[in-house]
């Protein structure tokens, strides 16, 4: 009876996992097919893989240009976000007032509004400032949309540091910057790293704003992928190849930093 339950549980777990991962697996498989194989019915599971689609994607559109845009926007917005969120989290964690909780909730609540609700005003602002299709606009929007989560994560990491350690540093002659550099940074390295990584991933994956504010000049990889879904029809193999090229770098980064990511996301939850 106990064994039976275990078998059922295992089967259910595997089916659910397969269900979730299947589109991704199919995307990877399709990327190595020709267009004919990609739309063949019944779908082909066995075929001779080809890199044709990758070549075509690279030829038709400048992959490196879009990839560079993705790297620049995500890295710069992450650094900028950390620079703004860390002081905010510091003051909330170590100089708590009655309103701190409310401010944190208010920050998070801005993430509950659908992004499309702010599309028109932000579009108009970018247009008026002459920042449409510019990396600057994307970096600003990415940074701002990630800030609430960054502040939350850093806040929950910082508040586990005993305040009297910081007071001791102050008594030892440390300025606020010294406190951060010599005490908070080493003690909260895990939090800082995981917050940075998460925001890197989120910025990289961001599609809504890059599609609406960016185009050929400032477009990110999300724009590149979207360009393969055209009014003339879908080119499945090329779309898959482009998608694979877009997600591959961040998947690799994510793979190597799983530990930090998980640690950061469960911060405070397990203690």
């Amino acid at each position: 009876m106990k064994n039976f339950a275990l078998i059922v549980r295992t089967l259910v777990a595997w089916s659910v996992t397969l269900l979730i991962v299947f589109p991704l697996i199919w995307l990877v498989i399709t990327a190595f097919k020709t267009e004919q194989q990609a739309i063949a019915i019944p779908p082909q599971l066995f075929f001779s893989p080809t890199l044709e689609s990758f070549h075509e994607v690279n030829e038709r559109s400048d992959y490196l240009h879009y990839a560079a845009n993705s790297v620049i926007t995500s890295v710069v917005s992450t650094l900028l976000g950390l620079a703004i969120a860390a002081p905010a989290a510091y003051s909330m964690a170590f100089f708590r007032t009655k309103k701190t909780r409310d401010i944190l909730m208010w920050m998070l609540s801005t993430k509950m509004m659908p992004a499309v609700g702010a599309l028109v005003p932000i579009y108009v602002m970018a247009q008026t400032a002459g920042l449409l299709d510019s990396l600057t606009a994307l970096i600003i929007v990415f940074t701002l949309s990630n800030l609430p989560i960054m502040v939350w994560m850093l806040y929950s990491g910082f508040k586990d540091i005993p305040a009297d350690i910081l007071e001791a540093a102050r008594m030892d002659g440390a300025s606020i910057w010294g406190e951060f550099l010599h005490v908070i940074r080493p003690l909260a390295m895990g939090t800082l790293a995981s917050t940075g990584l998460l925001c890197l991933v989120m910025s990289w994956n961001e599609a809504f704003w890059s599609l609406n504010l960016g185009s050929s000049r400032a477009g990110t990889l999300a724009t590149l992928i979207a360009s393969y879904s055209s009014p003339e029809g879908l080119f499945w193999a090329k779309l898959s190849a482009a998608s694979l090229m877009a997600i591959a770098p961040i998947v690799v980064v994510g793979w190597f930093s799983q530990k930090q990511l998980v640690q950061g996301l469960t911060f405070g939850a397990v203690k």
Binding site: E167, A168, R170, G173, G178, H182, L187
Partner: protein, 349 residues
């Protein structure tokens, strides 16, 4: 001008006036102890001197300079925290040298100063360990070492012994006293333990509800308390306080026939237990506490008043035994209804 001077220092927490205009002058090299029950504001006052809590009113002067608004990092004070507050990610050496490294002191001088402090505190063999590899007592010594390495103008101690067990507490107390004698540094020490206050202090500051009740040397406070609160706070067991209306005969027993309406205080060591039938007061033993060196005898005097006596001799009495009590001549303290000490009468020391 005093070395460290507090002038009308005040602190408000919302509408609550937590520190009520404290005036205090501390001379160079003095060992000052702030003592009082929990919530009396002693730690707040220390943190205000440290610059960790803002001063809302009055001013603070150190060595002729107004430091009321100066941040902690610029005050040149060192503090030993109750929780030790060591940097967990640094070795003992790095903990102790942190302030000097921040101040860009030459590496050779740092090595020398840390080495000397480690030697004084018996920490030489632990310099490369991290705080979590040390025992509580060792951590406390590192915290003290971190303070003395800097040679600050004033040492601040915030209940530094309360996390140690009783044996270690006594030992560390002696070490702190020795350290002060050797270094001669101006020290402010906060504790709720009046034994620490009595044994360490040059002068004790007794605080209650954010105000100073009395400042004086330990024996001054013991012999001439300014009021009933200080009288009862200093000394274990507590001074016996008897309402003059509860036991009117006590006036004659202690030899203060003209004592005004209020309270009469007698220290337990001034109360002598006599065999039943002798002594000026009669009563029954309620409880005997044998402490080894001392014996505390709680007696219920006829009329319902309880009086504790302390004697060096062991006792064969049992609860319920009838006894007599005598009170040493001229050993009484008089307080009025508000608890203020009434001026000593002629014939008293």
């Amino acid at each position: 001008m005093a070395f460290l001077e507090l002038k009308g220092v005040e602190k408000f927490f919302g509408p609550l006036r937590a520190i009520k205009g404290v005036d205090l002058r501390i001379e160079k090299g003095e060992f000052i102890v702030f003592v009082g029950p929990s919530g009396c504001g002693k730690s707040t006052l220390l943190r205000m001197i440290a610059g960790l809590t803002e001063i809302d009113g009055g001013s603070l002067h150190l060595d002729g300079r107004d430091i009321t608004k100066l941040p902690s990092s610029k005050r040149d004070l060192a503090m030993v925290f109750q929780s030790y507050a060591l940097y967990p990610h640094m070795s003992v050496f790095d903990n102790m040298s942190f302030a000097l490294r921040l101040a860009n002191v030459d590496k050779k001088i740092i090595d020398e100063k840390v080495g000397r402090a480690a030697e004084i505190l018996n920490l030489t063999q632990y310099l490369q360990r991290t705080p979590k590899e040390l025992s509580g007592g060792q951590r406390q010594r590192v915290a003290i070492g971190r303070a003395i390495v800097r040679a600050p103008k004033v040492f601040l101690f915030d209940e530094p012994l309360s996390n140690l067990d009783a044996a270690l507490r006594g030992q560390t107390r002696v070490e702190i006293a020795k350290l002060h004698r050797d270094l001669g540094a101006t020290t402010i020490y906060v504790t709720h333990d009046q034994v620490e206050a009595m044994t360490l202090a040059d002068r004790v500051v007794v605080l209650r509800d954010g105000a100073i009740e009395q400042v004086g040397s330990p024996l001054e406070l013991y012999d001439r308390p300014a009021n009933q609160f200080v009288a009862q706070f200093i000394g274990t067991p507590q001074m016996n306080i008897v309402d003059t209306t509860a036991l009117p005969g006590l006036r004659e027993v202690v030899g203060a026939v003209d004592a005004p309406d209020g309270f009469i205080g007698v220290r337990p060591e001034s109360v002598m237990v006599r065999p039943a039938g002798s002594g000026k007061l009669a009563g029954h033993v309620e409880l005997i506490e044998q402490l080894g060196a001392d014996t505390l005898i709680h007696t219920k005097v006829n009329g319902g008043v309880q009086i504790v006596s302390r004697q060096a001799e062991r006792s064969t009495l049992h609860p319920g035994d009838a006894v007599g009590l005598d009170i040493a001549p001229a050993s009484y303290h008089l307080f009025d209804r508000q608890g203020r000490t009434v001026a000593a009468q002629a014939g008293r020391h």
